[in-house]
Amino acid sequence: MIEVYILNLVIFISIYMLTSVSFNLSFGQTGLLNLAHISFFGLGAYTSAILSLRGTPFFLALLLSGLMPMIFAFILSLVNRKLKGDYFTLATLAFAILSYNIVLNSVELTGGPHGLRNIPKPIIFGLDFNNIFLYAIFTVFLTLMGVFFIHRIAKSSFGRVCLAIRDNNDLAESLGKNTFKIKVIVLLVASFLTGVAGCLYASYVTFIDPTVFDAMEMITILAIVVLGGLASIKGTIVGTFIILMVPEILRFLDISTAIIGPLRVLLYSLILLVIIYYKPRGLYGKIAIE
C-alpha cells in the first residue's frame, strides 16, 4: 500500500514539475506572467480525455493534447503584441476565466460540470499502464525529457535573449531582437509541455472536470516557481518537491478532508507571501521578484 502511495506522489510531482518548469520558462525566464498557464493544462487534459474516450491511439492523443493549447497560446501571443506587462497578465486572467466557462458550459463535448469519466489508461506496445509502476516510469520519463528540453533552451543564447526581454524589452529591440517572435516561441513551447502534463494527469486520474482549469491551481504553480527562484530550473525542481510534500503532512493530522483542500491553498498562499517578503530571490534564483 505504501508503494502505491509513494508512486502516486511520484506521478503527481512529475506532472506538477513539468507544468511548473514550463511556467518558469515563460514567467521566470521571459517575464511573461501568464495566468492562463493552467488553462493550457486543462486544455491538454480535456483534449486527451475527449480523444481517448473516442478511441484515439494514446500517442496521437498525447501529441494533440500538446498541440491544442499551442493554438490558444498563439492567440494569447497576438494579445501580447498590443498589451504589455500587467495588462497582458490581466488579459491572460480573462482568458483563463473564459476557457473555464466555455468548458463548464459545453456540456455535450466536455460533460459540463460533471466532467468526463472512465478515461482509458494507455496501452503502449502491449504494456498496460493500469499498472501504477509503469505509469510512474512513463510520467517521470516524459517529465525528464521536458525538463531537459527547457534546460537546453535556458542555457542557450536563445535563453539569454529571453532573460534580456524580461529585463528590458525596449533595449532588446534596439539591439535588433525580434521580441515578439521570441515571446511567441516561448508561449508555444510552454503551452505544449503543459498540455502534455494535462494529458498525463487525465490519463492517470481517469476523471476530469472543469476544476482542472481552476485559477486557484495557478497559486500552486506560482508558489513552486517563486519558492525555487525565477529562471532557476533547479529551484523549480526543488520547489515542486517542497510544495507538494508539505501538504502531505496534513494527511496525517486529524483534519476533515473538506478542510484539507482550502487549507492547502491557504498554505501555498502563505508560502508565496513569506518568500516574496523575506526571500524575493527564492531558493536558487538570481533575480528578485518585484
Binding site: 542557450s156 543564447s157 536563445f158 535588433g176 531582437k177 521580441t179
Partner: protein, 252 residues
C-alpha cells in the same frame, strides 16, 4: 554598373511629429554624412531625442521620410532598423540589470541568438564572441570584471560599456543621446580622446549633446535645432561667430 555609395548615410526629409497638438518636430530635413561625427545641439525640449526616436523607429513620424542608405525606413520596426545597422546609446544608461556585463555585451554581437532551433541544437561560438568583446574593450582602454552586474560599475564605466556595446553590434552608424552628460571633467577628457579615436577609425556618429566645448572638439558638423526646426547646419570653426546660435542656445 555598380552604383556608387552616397556620402549621406541617413537622410531625413520634411519630418514632422506632434504629440497632442504640440509640434515637436516641424518639417525637419537633415543629412548625416558617412564617416563623420555630426552633433545636434539645442535647448531641452527642442526635439533632439524625438528625432532620434523617429530615426530608430520607436516613434513613427506624422509626415516626411527617413532614408538609411537610400532605403526608406520610416515604417520599419525598431529591431529591423537596428539590424540594418543603426546602433543606439540612450540618454539614460540602459542595461539588462540582472545580466552580467559579458552577457549584456554578448547580446549585441548578432541576432543569431533569436533562432530557436539552431540554438537548441548547436553550441554557441562563445570563444569567437568573447574575442570580439575583449578586442573592443581593449580598443576603448577599459578594464572591468565582465562577471559584474551593470550597477556595480561607475557611471563613467557604464557609459564606456554602452559605447562598447554599440561598437560590437554590427553597425553603420551610432546614434548617441548625450553620451557625456553627467560625467566628471576628467572622465569627459577621456571620452573626448575616445571619440577622437573613433573619428580616426572612420566611425559614423550622430550625437546629441549639451556640452558645446566638447562638441566643438570632436564634431565635423554641428546642427542646431530649436522648437523642432533645424535652424543651423555648420562646422565647429564657424559656429563661434553665429549670433543666432548664441541667441537660441546660450540665451545671449
Amino acid at each position: 554598373m555598380v552604383k556608387s555609395q552616397s556620402n549621406d548615410i541617413i537622410s531625413i526629409e520634411n519630418v514632422s511629429k506632434s504629440f497632442g497638438g504640440h509640434l515637436v518636430l516641424d518639417n525637419c530635413s537633415l543629412k548625416v554624412r558617412r564617416n563623420n561625427i555630426t552633433a545636434i545641439v539645442g535647448p531641452n525640449g527642442s526635439g533632439k531625442t524625438t528625432l532620434f526616436n523617429v530615426i530608430c523607429g520607436s516613434i513613427k513620424p506624422d509626415s516626411g521620410d527617413i532614408y538609411l542608405d537610400e532605403k526608406n525606413i520610416k515604417t520599419l520596426s525598431v529591431n529591423r532598423i537596428s539590424n540594418m545597422g543603426v546602433s543606439r546609446i540612450f540618454q539614460q544608461s540602459s542595461f539588462f540589470p540582472n545580466l552580467s556585463i559579458a552577457q549584456n555585451l554578448l547580446l549585441a554581437i548578432d541576432d543569431e541568438d533569436t533562432k530557436f532551433v539552431k540554438n537548441i541544437i548547436c553550441a554557441e561560438p562563445l570563444k569567437d564572441k568573447e574575442k570580439i568583446i575583449t578586442d573592443t574593450l581593449r580598443l576603448l582602454g577599459i578594464k572591468v570584471n565582465l562577471e559584474h552586474l551593470p550597477h556595480e560599475l561607475s557611471f563613467g564605466q557604464q557609459r564606456i560599456i554602452e559605447i562598447a556595446r554599440s561598437l560590437i553590434k554590427p553597425h553603420k552608424i551610432i546614434i548617441m543621446d548625450e553620451p557625456v552628460s553627467g560625467l566628471s571633467p576628467a572622465m569627459k577628457k577621456n571620452m573626448k580622446n575616445l571619440f577622437l579615436q573613433l573619428k580616426k577609425n572612420k566611425e559614423t556618429l550622430f550625437l546629441a549633446e549639451h556640452d558645446i566645448n566638447f562638441v566643438n572638439k570632436i564634431a565635423d558638423r554641428i546642427v542646431l535645432i530649436d522648437k523642432g526646426r533645424i535652424i543651423l547646419d555648420t562646422t565647429p570653426k564657424k559656429i563661434k561667430n553665429k549670433s543666432l546660435f548664441a541667441k537660441i542656445y546660450l540665451g545671449e
